[in-house]
Every structure is written in C-alpha cells, then in structure tokens.
C-alpha cells in the first residue's frame, strides 16, 4: 500500500517495519557510518573517488543484469563479454577514430547480447544455459583475438579515453558519472516508461503477459541485447582506466553483478527490483571491499565476509515479505 514515510513511521512497530522495508539503504548507511568510524582514511576524497572508480564497471553491468533478472532470466555471459569487448575496443581504438571505435564496440556488445536474446526468446533455451555457453565462448574469443596477452592503447584516441577515465569532473570520477547516468536512465525507463512496465509484467507472469497481447519474445530478446550493450560500455570504461584491453578482465563479474542485484532486493523469479536499489547493492559490495582493504584484511577473508553480508541482506528481505 502506498503510505507516506511519515505514516509508515507512526504506525505500530513502524520504525522497525520501515527499516526492514528499506533495508538496502539501511545497510548502506550503517556500512558508511561504520567505515567512517573505523578508518580515518575512509572519508577522504581520494578514497571515495577510488571506491567509485572501482564499482563503476561492475555497476554498469549490474544494471543490465537487473533488467534481465526483472524478466525472470539471468545473464551469466556479462563478465566474459567485458573481457572480449575490452579487447575488441583496444583493437578498434588502435584502428579507427575514437567515436567510431566506441560506437562499434557498443554495437558489437548489443549484437552479442542479441545472440543470447535470440536463444532465450525465440529458441526457448533456458537463460542459465544459453548465457553459460556464451560466457565460455566470449572468454575464449577474447583470448583468441588478444593472442593471449593484453592489447595496449597506442593511438591518440586511446590516450584521450584513458585521460577521461582517470579524471574527475567537479570531484566526481568521470566513469562514475557515466555509471550514474546509466542508473538514472534505467530508473526513468523502469518507472516512467512502458518498457519497464512490460518487462516487470513479463517477469511476474509470463503467460498472463502473453495472453494480454504483450510481445513477450521481443522484450525478452531486447533485455539481453541491452545487457550486452551495457557490458560493452563497462568494457570501454575498464579498458580505458588501465589503458589496455585484456582477456582476463571481468573475471567472475557476472557473480558480483547478480549479488548486487539480489542485495538490492530483486527477486530472481523476476518482476521485482529497482535501479536505485541495485545501485545501493553495487555500493554495498564496493564498500565492503573498500573498508576491508583499508583495514588491511587479506583478500581470502574478504570473500568470506562478502558472502556473509549477501546472506544477511537476503535474510532481511525475507522479513520484509512476511
């Protein structure tokens, strides 16, 4: 029911319910406060902008993952796609002028995503299987094209991109701005556009959608294609940050993206999830790594903590649905 925040807070047990309902933001705030208390370095602009730079790539593919998950699907190929497309971009930027290289990379990303979309929507393949296959194909192709080693940017266009990716505007890293713009776009499309309405409808009841005259196949196809295009955008960003495209990039990123979307309260059955909460999920995951790094916790215990936080967040959502 649409209650205002004030009404929610004043109803019996309201504060607790409010916390549970908005648990993602709650966890985020607690983590920020905790981080600020525990480390002096946390609230420095250097650290914060590092944090944002680190999450932007995964953040962008998480938005793609969100729209796929909203339809009830999953896209396991995005991590490998980032690798293949980063290599592709490195080759293209060394060959063509910059705008053309960017455009081509995104078009190729869209096309690769379309393959998954075609298999899922028109060949009725299980999303898990179709994108699993594409995951290994993309990774393999990445290594083939790169001949096993990273490809460094050599042209003026490439240097311009790496400048862009490592600098800030008004104190915010440029690549984070790209990420935030994508989040805002997704928010608008999901909330105020028919596109969002339809993919959520498909995710919550595919058969009812079909019998309501919705072009179910078209939209299922589109979400994978868009996810591919977003993987391309993420690839351009991560390649530009390091000035090279490597087939080792984006390793296991699909899992982080899924985790971010789930921490953001989305349902893997589809039909439930928002862009702003996915953003929170991305930031929460980023914050955890960041603070553990500041505390000099080695990377193996970090993985354990990350997993524990995912479980905690999802358990909290269980309370929400009760």
């Amino acid at each position: 029911m649409a209650l205002t925040i004030k009404e929610q807070l004043s109803s019996p047990g309201g504060f607790l319910k409010f916390l549970i309902k908005h648990n993602t933001i709650f966890i985020f705030i607690v983590l920020v406060l905790f981080s600020a208390l525990i480390s002096d370095v946390f609230f420095t602009s250097v650290n914060l902008s590092n944090l944002l730079k680190q999450v932007s790539g995964i953040g962008i593919i998480s938005i793609g993952m969100l729209i796929v998950i909203l339809t009830g699907g999953i896209d396991l190929s995005v991590g490998s796609m980032v690798a293949l497309l980063a290599v592709t971009f490195a080759i293209l930027v060394n060959t063509f002028i910059l705008p053309l290289a960017i455009l081509l990379t995104i078009v190729i990303g869209f096309s690769l995503g379309s393959v998954a979309g075609y298999l899922v929507a028109f060949q009725k393949m299980a999303p898990f299987i179709a994108t699993l296959a594409l995951m290994t194909i993309a990774r393999g192709l990445g290594f083939i094209y790169a001949k096993g080693s990273p490809i460094t940017f050599t042209t003026y266009g490439g240097l311009y991109m790496s400048d862009f990716a490592n600098n800030s505007t008004l104190g915010i890293p440029n690549i984070a701005i790209v990420f935030f713009l994508i989040v805002i776009c997704a928010m608008v499309m999901l909330r105020y556009n028919v596109f969002g309405r339809l993919i959520i409808a498909i995710g919550s009841n595919e058969e009812a959608s079909r019998l309501s005259g919705i072009k179910v196949n078209k939209y299922k196809f589109l979400v994978y294609a868009i996810s591919g295009a977003l993987a391309a955008t993420a690839a351009i960003i991560v390649a530009s940050r390091t000035n090279l495209g490597s087939p080792n990039m984006g390793m296991a990123w699909e899992l982080d993206a899924i985790a971010a979307v789930v921490i953001g309260g989305a349902s893997l059955n589809g039909g439930k999830g928002t862009a702003i909460n996915t953003l929170m999920g991305v930031l929460i995951l980023g914050l955890i790594s960041n603070i553990l790094n500041l505390l000099n916790v080695p990377s193996y215990p970090q993985q354990v903590v990350k997993g524990a936080i995912i479980i905690f967040a999802v358990l909290l959502q269980k309370f929400e649905s009760k």
């Binding site: 309405r197 919550s204 009841n205 058969e207 009812a208 079909r210 019998l211 309501s212 005259g213 072009k215």
Partner: protein
C-alpha cells in the same frame, strides 16, 4: 474407541483469528456430526478458508476451542492434523507436477518409516483408489500431463488415501462439469455412509441442496447461523450470506443486437485436431454462450481464436474483413479480448498493483510516442474502471494477489475494458467468485454488450450460461454439436447436446 462419546465429530467454538491488524474470524462456531455432509457457506473473504485451515493445522487459532470426538485439539502443523484423520482438499491444487499420480497420492508416506519404496504396490494401491472413485486416470502418469479436472480428482484421492475421519473439500467442483460433479457426489454419499464427516465449501447453492445435511453460513468473520438444509431455501441462505435480499441474479438483457455479425469464425481447426470445424458468428450486442463438458474443446477454441494456440485451418472475419491471429499480439491488435479461466496463472499479475494490471493491455492512450507514461491519465483511467467495476480495494496500488477471487476477476475484466474491444471472449467468468460479485460481473457483461461488443461466454455453470446468454452453442468432442435458441434453454437440452444426443422432440 471414543468415537461415540460426543454428539459431534468436530466442534469448533468461539474461534477467533487475526492476521496482523486484520481480524478474519471473530468467535465462529462450527459443529459437524458423525457421517454428515456439512456445507460451509459465505462470500469470498468471509473466513471460510481460514476456519478450515485452523481445523487442519495450517493456521493456529488466537482464541476458542476445537474438539475432535470430544477431545480438545491443538494442532501445530498439518501433519498432526493428518494423523488425527483430518484431510483437506484445498482450492489451490497442491500437487507436485513432476511426480506420478501414485507418488503424489502417497507423498506424505514416502520415506515415512521404510527405507525402500515398493513402487509396484504404491502404484497398484493408487490405481485401485482412483478406480474406486469412478474416474479414469492412469496412476503411473505424470501429474503435469493431466487435465485440471483429473488433477482435482487426484487431490481428492490423496485426501482419501489416509484413514480419514473428517474430509474438508474447498470448492471441489469449480473445474468439474455436471457428469464429473455427479460422480463426486456419489463418492461423497458413499463416504458419508461409512461415517466420515464431510465439510463442503461451495458457492454453488444448488449443489448444497443436493448433498448437504446442514449448513453453517459465515459473514464477515462471524457465523450467522447453523441450520438443517431441510429448513431453508436459496433465498434465505443468500440473505444470510450477504445480509440483504438478492432479487435478480441475472440482469435484464436490454442490449440491441445488431443485424450483421461483428465476428465470424469459419471451419476453425486446431493443429492438434482437438478442435475441428468450429463455425459460429456473434453479432454486436449479443452474448453468445458456449457450453459443453470439460475437455470438449471450449477453452481450446477460445485460445485458437485468440492466437494462443496453433491453428491448422479456418477463417476469422471481423467486421466483414478477414483477419489473421497468429499470436495474441495480433488478436489484441484487432481488438479481441480474452479472459482466461485460469485467473491466477493466466489472467492477472498477482504480485503487481491493480493499476499495473489494468494498464498492461493498452498503453497507447496513456503514454507518449516514446513510451513515457502519462501517469495522471493512467490514474484517471484506472480509478474510473475501479469505480465502475466496484472493485473493493483501499487503493489502486494494492497488489492483486491480496484481493478476493471476485475482485481479481473484475481486474482481469477491467484490462479488456480499458481497450475498446470489439469482441471479448470470457472463459468461466465467475469461477470461484461469490454471489455478490457474480451479479456485478453479470451486469458488467451486459453493459459491455450494450456498447455493441460481441461477447462470447464459456461456462460450465448451467444456470449462469442460460441466465446471461442470448444463444448457446454446445460443444461435444471438439466441435459444435448444436445450437440452442433462448426458448430452447434448459439444463436437459444443454446436457443432451453435451453428450452428443439429439434434443427430445415434443
């Protein structure tokens, strides 16, 4: 045995139950004798299902007392209830699709105390049980491959596989046609002879008068009386159920029927041949009823027309022009609407709000060319329809899953009213819907017809289909067997055509 110690098999007194702030039951009493069929009646949301779930152990009561054979009962879960001999057949089917019929029937016993399963014996026992009910189902078949009617039978067989003392049936006949219903009733009488107490929940009052010994009526969480069936009649039961007189169940038809058909179907045949050579036409303002037994191809015909199933051949003509409906998208494009019989799976989006449900069929009037929603217009349209259909909900933002069956059905209909449909096909318009909402839905169908829409109604409910149709086509074995004009309407005539017999000549 303590069986004869008390007059009643089940005695529930002063039962109260609330979910959060919503109070569902407030001091309800229900007393069921040994070997009695006791009808539990009430509108949707009156608390029938909750009461039954307290009896079976799904929910725990907040207050009151439950006695079984005079002994107090405090069940913590359904397993304890089953051990005591309380079996429930719920409205929502609870079978495991990927297991066989036999495995489903004995699911609760699988892995009980033995390590190895005797599959042969289980399948044999299950087959005997089903055969004894008089239905034809292969016990080794997978549940997924069964029709909804067969699934319901399996559900009932499952409840009877135990040493059942109290059998609760929640709307068991909604999916049944008259022959199947009669078979079920015969079985219930047999069980009653054996001394089993049966609690029977139904919206079909005529059924109650056929089988029940006594009834208890619930209204808004309190019981409004328990009386023997012999001392009551339909009108007084309806008065107890809705608290007012209900004059005319079926509205007066005053739509002007056009001369030329708005929609014609010629020689429609399905790819799988389950439906063949179906031809009919419907005129603007006309309500055409399609009757027939379950499995006679009624729903399949509707889905064929709507493009939801594959056609082999056949012609569709809308307003004199031939149209093609390869997919539902095409059908909706030609302004044909379809309300499915399976409301929860195919009709509405349970986790989405009423607003999102209604808007889903037609975004054109409420969005810009780039697909951006004009939310003001959407609200206007949705609130208008909610008011017009009298959907009972606190706001348009309530999830449809939280509404009662009748209100869900209204939302499913509203979807097609927000588009200006030329033809609307409604499959089982009032399945699982209470009396009050039924009348509203009938009025709605009438209003839609008055606007010049061609309405096709498929229904297994004979009084209903005779009450609202101008003409009835009866299906038998996948094709139209005969047509009945208004003066020929009678249950007997519909049944004769349904089973492939000619009408009696008088």
């Amino acid at each position: 045995m303590k069986t004869e110690n008390s007059e009643y098999r089940v005695e529930m007194t002063g039962i109260s139950k609330s979910f959060g702030v919503v109070s569902v039951l407030e001091g309800v009493n229900l007393r069921v004798k040994h070997g009695e069929i006791h009808a539990l009646l009430g509108e949707n949301g009156a608390g029938k299902s909750t009461l039954v779930k307290i009896l079976s152990g799904v929910h725990q009561k907040d207050g009151g007392k439950v006695l079984l054979n005079g002994e107090e009962l405090n069940l913590k879960n359904t397993h304890e209830g089953q051990v005591k001999g309380i079996s429930v057949v719920y409205q929502e089917l609870s079978l495991v699709n990927d297991l066989s019929v036999a495995e489903n029937i004995y699911l609760h016993k699988l892995g009980a105390n033995k390590f190895w399963m005797n599959w042969k014996k289980i399948t044999k026992d299950a087959q005997e049980l089903i055969d004894s009910l008089g239905f034809k189902i292969d016990a080794s078949a997978r549940v997924r491959d069964l029709s909804i009617v067969q699934k319901q039978v399996v559900e009932i067989a499952k409840a009877l596989s135990e040493d059942t003392k109290v059998l609760v049936l929640d709307e068991p006949t909604t999916v049944f046609d008259p022959t199947d219903t009669q078979k079920l009733f015969d079985n219930l009488f047999r069980l009653k002879e054996k001394g089993i107490s049966i609690i029977y929940i139904s919206h079909h009052l005529e059924e109650i008068f056929k089988i029940a010994d006594s009834i208890t009526v619930l209204r808004d969480g309190v019981d409004t009386g328990c009386l023997p069936v012999s001392e009551t009649d339909t009108d007084s039961i309806i008065r107890l159920m809705i608290g007012r007189e209900l004059k005319d169940l079926y509205p007066v038809r005053n739509a002007t029927v056009g001369a030329e058909p708005i929609f014609e179907v010629k020689n429609l045949t399905a790819k799988n041949n389950l439906v063949h050579n179906v031809s009919f036409s419907v005129k603007p303002g006309e309500v055409l009823g399609i009757a027939g037994l379950g499995g006679s191809g009624r729903t399949e015909t509707a889905k064929l027309i709507f493009g939801a199933e594959k056609k082999k051949s056949g012609t569709l003509i809308l307003n004199g022009k031939e149209i093609k409906t390869k997919t539902p998208v095409d059908a909706v494009g030609h302004q044909i609407g379809f309300v499915s019989e399976d409301r929860k799976e195919e009709g509405v989006f349970l986790p989405l709000s009423i607003r999102r449900n209604i808007s889903v069929t037609n975004f054109r009037p409420i969005s810009s060319r780039l697909g951006f929603l004009k939310v003001d217009k959407e609200y206007e349209n949705v609130l208008d329809l909610i008011e017009k259909l009298n959907v009972k909900a606190p706001s348009s933002e309530v999830n449809v899953g939280n509404l009662s069956g009748g209100n869900q059905q209204k939302v499913a209909l509203a979807k097609w009213l927000s588009v200006d449909s030329k033809v609307i096909i409604i499959d089982e318009p009032t399945r699982g819907v209470d009396v009050g909402a039924k009348v509203e839905i009938y009025n709605l169908i009438n209003e839609v017809a008055e606007k010049g829409v061609g309405v096709v109604v498929i229904s297994s409910d004979m009084p209903e289909i005779m009450g609202i149709s101008d003409r009835i086509m009866v299906m038998h074995k996948g094709t139209f067997y005969g047509e009945l004009t208004k003066d020929q309407f009678s249950e007997e005539n519909i049944l004769r055509y349904s089973i492939g017999k000619a009408l009696k000549t008088t």
